[in-house]
C-alpha cells in the first residue's frame, strides 16, 4: 500500500472507510452549508444543499473515492422521515468533486438487498466504465465491491445514478452529483457554486418508503430529497457571481425560477454553453435526465424565492382527487357532517381558496394529519405564512455577507418604504380599472 494522503473532510474520510454504517439518520435540520474541503488551487468548492462533498485520498496520483450504496433513513422535512436508498448515508449521495484531467478510481460497495451499478451520467469514459448493468459490466451483487477508473477529460456538471433496476433504485433516492472543475482555476470562476438534484417521491400518508411503481402522481417534490422549509437556503454577498447547478432525475420537467436576478444558462450535462449561445432568463426548464447550470450576479439584496414554477411542485403532499370546494357554500353540509362525527373536529375547507391549509397545519393538535406526512403548505415568514412546500427555497443576498460565509443571515430587513403596504382608498380613487 502506498502513502495514503487523506485530503477529504473528516465525514468524507469516514464514509470512504465505510465507517458510517447503515441506516443512520441524516437530519434535515443539520443543514450542511459549510464550505467543503477538497477543491484546491483557488477554485470555489461546490456547496450541495443539505448534503456534502465526498472525501477522497490520493494514491499514486489517482484520486480514490468510495461510494457505499445502502438503505438510509432520512428526514424529508420536520415531521416526516423516509426510508430511502442512497449512498454513504444520504440521499442524494455526497457530491463527487474533481478537477479536469484527474484520474479517478471509485470503489462502489453494494449494501443493498439487490444488485446495483453506477452510471456516470455525462462523463465521457471507456464503455466498460459506463455502468450499465448487463451491457457494459456485470451487476454488483449485494456485498460486493467494484472499482471504476477513468480520466476526467473535460470539466462540467454531471450525475451518478444506478443503471440496474433503475426504476426502483432511482425511485428510492439513489443519485448524486459529479462536478468536474476546470483545470485552470481562473476559468469560469464564480464566488458561490451551488448544486442540487430534483427528485420526486410517492410516499403515501402514513408510510415511509417511496413507492417505485408510481410514474406520475408523486406527492413529494424535492431538492436533494428535502422539501421546504427543510431545504437549505442559498446565500450570497451582493455583487457576487453565483452558479447554481440543477440536475433533474424526476419523471417530469421543472421550470426552475429564481426571483431577484436574471441569469444565463452557462452549462448542461453536455458541457459548457459558449457565451454566444447564452441569453438572459429568469426561468429555465430542466427536463428529465438533464442538468442546467445557471449563473448570475447577485445584484439586489433581499430574500428571493427560488422554486419550480409548476405550482403543484411547491406544495406538500395533497390528494389530487379531492373535490373542488372553491366558491361552494358548505354551511348546510358542514352542520350535517359535524353531526355525523360527534367528538371530532371537522372543519370545512376550500370555499375561499386553500390558503387555510396553512392554518390546518398549525392546528395539528386539534385536527391531526396522518402520521409521517407533511402539510400541504407551510413555512412562516417575517410577514406571515409563506404557504409553500416542495421545491421551494430562498436565495438570500446581503450586502454584509462575508465572502465564504455560508451561514444563514436570517430574514432580510427591508429599507423603509420598500415593502408593499395597504393603500388608502383615496390614493387609488379615480384610476381607471
Amino acid at each position: 500500500m502506498q502513502r495514503r494522503d487523506f485530503l477529504g473532510a473528516s465525514a468524507g474520510a469516514l464514509a470512504g472507510l465505510g465507517l458510517l454504517g447503515i441506516g443512520r439518520e441524516a437530519s434535515a435540520a443539520a443543514v450542511s452549508v459549510a464550505n467543503p474541503l477538497g477543491v484546491s488551487g483557488g477554485r470555489t468548492p461546490v456547496t450541495t444543499l443539505n448534503t456534502r462533498t465526498l472525501g477522497f485520498r490520493m494514491n499514486n496520483g489517482v484520486k480514490e473515492y468510495h461510494l457505499v450504496a445502502e438503505p438510509v433513513e432520512q428526514e424529508v422535512a420536520p415531521g416526516m422521515t423516509a426510508l430511502f436508498w442512497g449512498y454513504n448515508g444520504s440521499s442524494p449521495g455526497p457530491t463527487i468533486e474533481a478537477i479536469e484531467g484527474d484520474r479517478v478510481r471509485i470503489f462502489v460497495t453494494n449494501k443493498l438487498p439487490e444488485h446495483t451499478t453506477i452510471h456516470w451520467h455525462g462523463i465521457l469514459l471507456p464503455a466498460g466504465m459506463d455502468g450499465v448493468g448487463g451491457l457494459t459490466q456485470p451487476q454488483i451483487k449485494p456485498g460486493e465491491t467494484y472499482v471504476y477508473e477513468f480520466t476526467l477529460g473535460k470539466s462540467g456538471t454531471f450525475m451518478y445514478h444506478p443503471h440496474a433496476d433503475e426504476m426502483v433504485q432511482m425511485a428510492q433516492g439513489m443519485m448524486g452529483m459529479f462536478i468536474v472543475h476546470p483545470k485552470n482555476p481562473a476559468e469560469r470562476r464564480v464566488d458561490r457554486d451551488y448544486a442540487f438534484m430534483l427528485a420526486s417521491y410517492k410516499i403515501d400518508p402514513g408510510t415511509r418508503r417511496p413507492d417505485p411503481s408510481e410514474m406520475l402522481d408523486f406527492n413529494l417534490w424535492t431538492f436533494n430529497s428535502r422539501t421546504f422549509p427543510a431545504i437549505a437556503p442559498l446565500v450570497a454577498r451582493t455583487g457576487e457571481r453565483v452558479r447554481i447547478r440543477v440536475a433533474n432525475l424526476t419523471m417530469t420537467n421543472h421550470p426552475v425560477h429564481v426571483h431577484g436576478v436574471d441569469f444565463r444558462v452557462t452549462g448542461t450535462d453536455g458541457g459548457w454553453v459558449p457565451e454566444a449561445g447564452q441569453w438572459p432568463e429568469v426561468t429555465t426548464d430542466v427536463a428529465v435526465g438533464q442538468i442546467r447550470v445557471i449563473e448570475f450576479v447577485a445584484k439586489a439584496p433581499g430574500d428571493w424565492a427560488l422554486h419550480c414554477h409548476k405550482s403543484h411542485h411547491t406544495m406538500g403532499p395533497m390528494g389530487h382527487g379531492v373535490p373542488n370546494m372553491l366558491g361552494v357554500d358548505q354551511a348546510a353540509a358542514t352542520a350535517k357532517i359535524e353531526a355525523l362525527l360527534p367528538g371530532q373536529h371537522y372543519m370545512e375547507m376550500g370555499s375561499n381558496g386553500m390558503a387555510d391549509m396553512q392554518d390546518m397545519a398549525a392546528m395539528a393538535a386539534m385536527m391531526p394529519l396522518p402520521p409521517n406526512t407533511l402539510p400541504m403548505m407551510t413555512g412562516e415568514g417575517p410577514f406571515g405564512p409563506i404557504e409553500m412546500g416542495g421545491m421551494f427555497t430562498l436565495l438570500k443576498v446581503r450586502d454584509a455577507q462575508k465572502p465564504g460565509d455560508y451561514s444563514d443571515p436570517g430574514w432580510y430587513e427591508h429599507p423603509p418604504g420598500t415593502v408593499a403596504r395597504p393603500a388608502d382608498s383615496k390614493a387609488f380613487s379615480g384610476i381607471p380599472t
Partner: protein
C-alpha cells in the same frame, strides 16, 4: 230506534243488527272471562309500562300470553291466581324452569304444561328481541340516512357553485333516496315489532312499548353438555320416563336363533331379543331431540363467533373513519371518502346488532328446550313492579 239494514247478508248483517239493537252504553263482550284473568292483565300492563327486557317479557308472557291460556286452563291454573303470586316481586331475573315450573321435581304429567310455558316465554322473548333490534336498528338507519343526506347536501352545494355536474350529483341523490327508503323500512319494522309483541302479550293496542337495549353477549360460552341437557330437558325427561315404563313392561329375552341371509326370509319375531315398537319410537325421538339440541348449540356458537368477529371489526372501522378525517384535514383525501367511511361504520353497526339479536334468539330457543338458561344475562336486575 229504526235502522236500515243493508242488503249484504250473513253474519255481518246480523252483527250490525245486534249492534243497532244493543244499548248504547253496554261494554263490549270480553272473549275471556275477566274473573279468570283477574289482575293479570293489569299486572302485565304495569310491567309493560317499564323498559322491556328478556325477564320482564317472560313475566308478562306467563301472566298474559293468550297462547299459554289453554295449557293453564287444562292444568287448572288461572292468570288471576298467577297474578297474586309473590314471585313477581322478585328483583333478580326469574329462572322459569326453576322458580316457576320447578322442573327438577315436576311429575311426568306436567311436561305439557312446562313446555307450553317455556314455549310461550320463548315466543315472547323472540318478539321482544325483534322489537329491541328494530328499535336500535332504526337509530342506525337514521344515521345512515343522515350520512347520505350530508353527502348529497354537499354535492348540491358543489353543483350550485358550478364545481360539479350531474354525473356526480345523481348517484348521491339515488343513494340518499335509497337511504330514506331504508329508513322507512326500519321504522315500519319497528312498528311491526311493537304490534307483534303487543299481540303476543295481549297488551292494549295503545300501549307504548319501550325496550332496553339488546343484552350484551357473555365474554365466553359455557361448555356444551349434551347428555346432561338431554336428561334435564322436559322433553328428554319425559322420553326417559316413557322408556322406563316400556322397559318395565318387557321381559328381557335373548335371541333364540341365528339369523340367515337373505334378510327377507327372516320372519320370526319370537326368535329375536325382546323390544317394543314404542321403545324404538322413543329412541328415535330421543335421537331427534339430541340432534336438535346439538343444532341449537352450533347455531348459538356460530352467532357468538360472528358477533365476536364483527365486534373486533368495529374498532377498525371507527379507526378508519378517524384516519380518513386526518386525510381530509391534510387535503389528502376527499370529504366524501370521510362520509363513506362513517357510513361503512353504520352498516357494520347494523350487522353487529343483527348478530347480537341472533345470538339471543338461539340462547332463548335453547333455554326453552332445556327449561333452564344456558346463558345468564347478568344485566337483568330491576325493581319489582
Amino acid at each position: 230506534m229504526t235502522r236500515t239494514i243493508p242488503l249484504y247478508g250473513g253474519m255481518a248483517a246480523a252483527m250490525l243488527l245486534l249492534a243497532g239493537l244493543a244499548p248504547a252504553a253496554a261494554p263490549p263482550l270480553e272473549p275471556v272471562p275477566a274473573l279468570w284473568l283477574g289482575q293479570a292483565p293489569l299486572r302485565a300492563s304495569e310491567l309493560a309500562s317499564m323498559p322491556l327486557d328478556a325477564d320482564r317479557v317472560a313475566r308478562i308472557a306467563i301472566l298474559n300470553a293468550p297462547a299459554l291460556r289453554p295449557a293453564l286452563r287444562e292444568h287448572g291454573i288461572s292468570p288471576a291466581q298467577l297474578a297474586v303470586l309473590p314471585l313477581w316481586q322478585q328483583t333478580a331475573a326469574v329462572d322459569i324452569g326453576r322458580d316457576v315450573l320447578g322442573l327438577a321435581q315436576a311429575p311426568q304429567g306436567r311436561t305439557v304444561l312446562a313446555q307450553a310455558v317455556l314455549d310461550s316465554v320463548r315466543e315472547a322473548r323472540l318478539a321482544w328481541l325483534q322489537l329491541a333490534l328494530a328499535s336500535q336498528t332504526l337509530q342506525v338507519c337514521e344515521q345512515q340516512a343522515r350520512a347520505a343526506d350530508a353527502a348529497l347536501t354537499l354535492m348540491e352545494a358543489q353543483v350550485q357553485a358550478g364545481n360539479a355536474a350531474e354525473e356526480k350529483r345523481l348517484p348521491l341523490r339515488q343513494a340518499a333516496r335509497a337511504a330514506a327508503r331504508e329508513r322507512l323500512h326500519c321504522a315500519a319494522a319497528l312498528a311491526k315489532a311493537q304490534r307483534r309483541l303487543a299481540s303476543v302479550l295481549d297488551l292494549p293496542d295503545a300501549t307504548t312499548l319501550r325496550t332496553a337495549p339488546l343484552p350484551a353477549l357473555p365474554a365466553s360460552l359455557p361448555q356444551a353438555d349434551l347428555p346432561q341437557w338431554l336428561a334435564a330437558s322436559p322433553t328428554g325427561r319425559q322420553l326417559q320416563q316413557q322408556q322406563a315404563i316400556e322397559a318395565a313392561a318387557l321381559l328381557p329375552r335373548a335371541a333364540s336363533r341365528s339369523l340367515r341371509l337373505p334378510l327377507t326370509g327372516a320372519l320370526d319375531p319370537e326368535g329375536m331379543p325382546a323390544v317394543s315398537a314404542a321403545q324404538l319410537e322413543l329412541g328415535l325421538q330421543q335421537a331427534g331431540l339430541r340432534a336438535q339440541l346439538a343444532d341449537d348449540w352450533a347455531a348459538l356458537e356460530l352467532a357468538f363467533q360472528e358477533y365476536r368477529s364483527l365486534s373486533e371489526q368495529l374498532p377498525d372501522a371507527q379507526s378508519y373513519t378517524r384516519v380518513m378525517l386526518t386525510h381530509y384535514n391534510g387535503m389528502l383525501g376527499s370529504v366524501y371518502e370521510l362520509i363513506d367511511a362513517r357510513a361503512a361504520e353504520f352498516a357494520l353497526q347494523r350487522e353487529l346488532l343483527e348478530k347480537q339479536a341472533a345470538f339471543w334468539e338461539h340462547a332463548y330457543t335453547l333455554e326453552a328446550r332445556l327449561g333452564a338458561p344456558v346463558i345468564i344475562n347478568k344485566e337483568v336486575r330491576h325493581a319489582a313492579p
